[in-house]
């Protein structure tokens, strides 16, 4: 069982420390020539439990309690402050900010650490401001004239974060059994089954008067299997359950494990795909990740202000970019959808703003951006999407990206449309991307504004009626406008992707929900491939494989 969650009995002493140090710092900094116009302090108390099994035994058992500090301090004025990016050679001056671990007790050590980080952030901001003013004078006028910060009325709230109970012994038995079951297959080289439960309680206080205590609990049960194919390809299959309460995790794991082992074995034997351009259906997690990478990252508000960003959609507000039956909203307030807990759920963002829905695409028309407290011209203001992992300044990020279609087909009808496209284009086959392991998007100006959806499993669907053929080793690539203009139809079965997204402000939990979607034409490229032969000797026999043969 997880015992006492946090060293502190309650939030009050910690908030008192924050308030005292914030007030003291304000007084000292106000006397400086470069005074801050805004300071926010956030302490995240975190309890994590990780249990992991491999080869039928517990490989990792880790329980940790920690506290992390974030100081967001802005020197200058809301119109132009120290968070404003430098351009040119000056831009090489980086921020030295790192994760700051705090003592577990309240008292002098905590106050000392708060003060030290406040001082470090102030001195860096003041230096930045001096360089920034000259940077603004020397270089050409910027494309965006928006302010750097949006003042906001204070928010006060305190939300009780419940401590989940986890029966460690019981879960260890389950994980061991699941791992041993996967380990029976001679083709499964690693068979990690992992339970992680993390509870975070965040204490937020700023100079505008906002005072918040909130947080989240997240539990994940992950199965991660890998093998090496004869051609050297490192083949990996993973599947996970993400929930807000570990009690909601499945407890009967055999069928799940067996299905994933079968997937891995099938992929190991599957041929590698080839570079290809033609009709494609993205289904399951693949469609959701497509919208996350191709649309989501490009509509993050801060990217519309940077001179080195591609600003794909910045000038397209009010214009159609997708078919009229598609709507995309990012709404972090939704805890659960389609029977699945959403990983991107939160009540307040990391700037203390209440989460709000951000309508990105309405009836195919591009409608707006994901916004933190760094506003855009024409009064585009925060919608509660300022996010970060500790140790990073917040930027605008996705939460729950929800894609819906007002006109849908059944899955079977969508497949028929795929085949119709194959025939119309005179191709041998179309492709269904069934599963992905993630993806990434390039949004800057120095590189092609492309996306890559890291496909794990795809199926060739032949026009001549041959059975579908599983393939591996190809990724979906493209550019946003071209891809969107090829979107033809959607099915009626939304699927959820739960994951973690990494960008400038760190790794944040996200979800994306989308129906399967049909494209008239998308492109695949070869995925990198391992070069090692499979192990030269067979895997030692598992004691659970039911074989009578003894280990040599």
């Amino acid at each position: 069982m997880i015992g006492i969650l946090f060293a502190t009995a309650g939030a009050a002493p910690l908030m008192d420390s924050l308030a005292t140090q914030l007030e003291r710092a304000q007084g000292v900094f106000a006397e400086q020539s470069e005074a801050p116009h805004y300071i926010a302090l956030a302490i995240t108390e975190e309890h994590s439990l990780t249990l992991s099994a491999n080869a039928g035994t517990i490989e990792l058992r880790d329980e940790d309690t920690s506290r992390w500090l974030d100081v967001d301090l802005r020197v200058g004025s809301p119109a132009l402050d120290s968070t404003h990016p430098l351009r040119g050679f000056s831009a090489m001056q980086g921020e030295s900010r790192q994760r700051v671990r705090l003592p577990l007790d309240d008292g002098y050590a905590l106050d000392h650490a708060l003060s030290r980080e406040l001082d470090a952030r102030y001195r860096e901001a003041a230096e930045h401001m001096v360089v920034l003013r000259t940077n603004q004078q020397v270089l050409v006028e910027e494309e965006s004239s928006a302010d750097d910060f949006e003042p906001r009325p204070p928010v006060t709230d305190s939300i009780e974060i419940h401590t989940p109970e986890v029966d460690i012994a019981l879960w260890e038995d389950r994980l061991r059994a699941a791992s041993a079951r996967a380990d029976r297959s001679p083709d499964v080289h690693t068979d990690q089954v992992r339970l992680s439960v993390i509870t975070q309680r965040r204490h937020f206080l700023d100079t505008e008067g906002t005072s918040l205590v909130d947080g989240r609990t997240h539990a994940r049960l992950l199965l991660d299997l890998s093998t090496t194919a004869e051609d050297g390809d490192e083949v990996r299959v993973f599947d996970a359950f993400d929930v807000h309460d570990p009690a909601q995790l499945p407890t009967e794991l055999d069928a799940w494990v067996d299905a994933q082992v079968q997937r891995l074995e099938a992929l190991r034997e599957a041929p590698r795909g080839e570079p290809y351009s033609g009709p494609v259906i993205l289904q399951g997690r693949a469609a959701a990740v497509f919208f996350h990478e191709v649309l989501g990252h490009r509509v993050e508000g801060h990217r519309q202000k940077r001179e080195d960003e591609g600003k794909t959609f910045a000038e397209h507000v009010g214009e159609p970019i997708l078919p009229p039956f598609i709507k995309v909203v990012d709404d972090p307030r939704v805890p659960r959808l389609e029977g699945v807990d959403l990983n991107g759920f939160y009540r307040y963002d990391d700037e203390g703003t209440p989460a709000m829905p951000a309508i990105l695409v309405d009836d195919g028309v591009f409608s707006g951006f994901l916004m933190g407290r760094s506003p855009l011209p024409n009064g585009v203001r925060t919608n509660g999407h300022g996010r970060r992992s500790t140790g990073n300044p917040p930027t605008s990020r996705m939460g729950n990206t929800l894609v819906s279609a007002s006109k849908t087909l059944s899955s079977a009808a969508l497949r028929e449309q795929l085949l119709a496209q194959v025939r119309a284009q005179g191709l041998e086959y179309g492709t269904i991307v069934d599963d992905i392991e993630g993806g990434f998007a390039l949004t800057g100006r120095m590189m092609p504004n492309a996306f890559n959806i890291r496909a794990v499993a795809s199926w060739r669907v032949y026009a001549d009626g041959r059975p579908d053929e599983l393939i591996r080793g190809v990724d979906l690539v493209g550019t946003p406008f071209a891809a969107f203009s090829n979107l033809l139809a959607a099915d009626d079965t939304p699927k959820v992707f739960n994951g973690t997204c990494g960008a400038e402000s760190g790794w944040v939990p996200v979800s994306a929900v989308a129906p399967a979607i049909l494209f008239e034409r998308l492109e695949f490229q070869l995925k990198e491939k391992g070069q090692d032969r499979p192990p030269l000797l067979p895997k030692p026999h598992s004691p659970n494989d039911g074989s009578a043969e003894a280990s040599p």
């Binding site: 490989e59 003592p103 002098y108 460690i168 280990s551």
Partner: protein, 562 residues
């Protein structure tokens, strides 16, 4: 908290684990790719260590971790002892390691060994080809490995002790710094405690069990002076078992003294001008001088042959160690004996490769006569049981317990008198005395610090002094700050003018890399015994201050916190 360490210590004796690894070891000797050189040596090292790390700042717990370390190292050699895959630059060389399960089973151990051995074998075969392509051994090439006789020995096993009290002691010790209030920017105590052992298994039947046990406590404080200069100081206690630590009041008193000295030093003037002349190194500073300047000249494992890769040479291009070189004045001697003090955490009976530890007389009459070696051949020398290392690395001959003996010692008073006389010949009315050097890993504990530990043969870098004083003939002393050494060369040890009382101390030597890469309690415990020394000439220069680093917001006063 689940006391899994208790469970593990019992399992460490489990013969089923050894049987499983032995079976995989035997099976793996059949690995043979067509036309590849055969395996001629294969060894597993199973490391099972219970570990504790506790970090406390100003009387509060910052972190407490007790995750055990279970690892397996595979050392695989193909070819023949006269020419194999080792001793050539690069990291894919046949020495690999991997983490093992928290709860190892015979099957999980075997599966890990299978995967690691497969990787090691493929690496070894490729490395052998790279080495063959780029290196033609000269006629007098001594070969790559001296094959040992199979060994069966049990040197014991260590068990971790309940350390709840130790944890509380660490927190209490760190509280010593609280009373310094806003003056200190860091007041930290770190505990590193590990116990367990290593099992060495060889395809030749070797089976050695040896204990590993160490308790290291590092206390450190940082201070920023008004002119922006950062001062640091630290203390290290490194023992085999907790009951060898000094009594808590003694440790606390030592830290109180360190704290007070550091605060006082902040008020002292900086070294204002360059100093060239004699310097007296006392106590820990003398030990450090030998640690940085002499120790590297005694470790005799040949450097790796550089691998001319597409991104530059991999491997050391220098071989700085010589037999027959004068390194100390006439009449001085040095020896290293890993069994000299068996209660010290550095002590061992069999070295990392399984060779029996030997006393080695390294320096006679100031000249290097022997070197510390392992089973990597070096012309004219035999293996002498000084292999130290860690899983996944080629081990090398290293210092363990070094004793440096001068021809004669003199009293501190006489040493100072002689130093003042020498200083007068430089036109100075005072002598510089250095009593302690900064510890690189302590300086690096502050993430804002950038420290570089690059060493080369000609210019060795000595960390800057912590305790430095001017001493006049009438006995007056003026404490200084803000000095660093310039142009330090190993030759200065030949120019030791006189020596004083003997001291001993322990430092943590890097397994690989340099000191700046270490955490405060990381490294191989190493003991040195040496005298205070008066060096004829050293250059000291003022170290720069950085007003940019002066805090705008000073830390709060302790009385203001609950």
């Amino acid at each position: 908290m689940i006391p899994w360490f208790a469970l593990l210590s019992a399992q460490a004796q489990d013969p089923a684990w050894v049987d499983a690894l032995s079976a995989e070891l035997e099976r793996s000797t059949s690995l043979q790719l067509p036309k590849a050189p055969p395996i001629y040596a294969l060894r597993y090292r199973l490391a099972l260590l219970d570990q504790r790390e506790v970090v406390a700042d100003f009387g509060s717990l910052l972190r407490s971790d007790s995750t055990p370390y279970h690892g397996l190292g595979v050392e695989l050699r193909v070819g023949s002892p006269s020419f194999d895959n080792t001793g050539f630059g690069g990291w894919e060389n046949g020495f690999v390691r991997g983490s093992l399960a928290a709860d190892p089973t015979p099957h999980s151990l075997r599966e890990s060994a299978w995967a690691l051995t497969d990787r090691a074998y493929k690496q070894a075969v490729e490395q052998h080809a790279r080495k063959s392509a780029q290196f033609t051994p000269p006629a007098d090439y001594p070969g790559d490995w001296i094959v040992p006789e199979p060994l069966q020995a049990d040197d014991g096993w260590a068990q971790i002790h309940d350390d709840i009290q130790l944890r509380e002691q660490i927190i209490a010790l760190s509280d010593v710094f609280t009373s310094a209030g806003p003056e200190l920017s860091l007041g930290r105590v770190v505990l590193g405690h590990e116990a367990g052992g290593v099992v060495l298994l060889g395809a030749d039947g070797t089976h050695l069990r040896k204990p590993l046990e160490e308790v290291s406590i590092r206390a450190m404080a940082h201070l920023r002076t008004e002119d922006g200069m950062r001062l640091t100081d630290s203390r290290l206690w490194c023992v085999r078992q907790p009951d060898q630590l000094p009594a808590p009041p003694l440790m606390q008193a030592e830290l109180e003294q360190m704290r007070d000295d550091l605060l006082a030093r902040a008020q002292r003037p900086s070294l204002s001008e360059e100093y060239v002349g004699p310097v007296l190194f006392e106590g820990p500073a003398a030990l450090d001088l030998f640690r940085y300047l002499l120790v590297p000249q005694l470790e005799g494992t040949p450097a790796e042959i550089p691998y001319d890769s597409w991104f530059g040479d991999l491997g050391e291009s220098k071989n700085t160690v010589r037999v027959g070189r004068r390194v100390l004045p006439e009449g001085w001697s040095a020896l290293d004996d890993p069994t000299a003090n068996l209660t010290h955490p550095s002590a061992y009976i069999h070295d990392w490769e399984g060779s029996e530890a030997q006393r080695v007389d390294l320096i006679e009459d100031g000249i290097v006569r022997d070197l510390l070696t392992n089973r990597v051949p070096r012309r004219g020398l035999e293996p002498n049981g000084h292999a130290r290392g860690f899983l996944g690395y080629r081990s090398s001959g290293r210092v363990t317990q070094l004793t440096i003996q001068p021809r004669k010692t003199t009293s501190t008073r006489a040493l100072v008198k002689k130093g003042l006389k020498m200083a007068a010949s430089y036109g100075r009315d005072h002598l510089i005395i250095v009593r302690r050097l900064q510890e690189d890993s302590v300086r690096a504990a502050d993430s804002s610090t950038s420290v570089f530990g690059l060493f080369d043969e000609k210019t060795l870098r000595l960390p800057p002094p912590v305790e430095i004083v001017k001493r006049w003939a009438d006995g007056r002393e003026e404490v200084l700050r803000g000095a660093r050494f310039a142009s330090v060369q190993r030759f200065i040890l030949r120019d030791i003018a006189a020596s004083g009382p003997l001291h001993s101390g322990t430092f943590l030597a890097p397994t690989s890399g340099d000191y700046t890469q270490l955490s405060p309690t990381e490294g191989m415990p190493t003991r040195i015994e040496a005298p205070d020394i008066l060096v004829r000439e050293i250059e000291l220069v003022p170290s720069s201050t950085d007003p940019r680093d002066t805090p705008v917001l000073a830390p709060p006063s302790p009385g203001d916190s609950p």
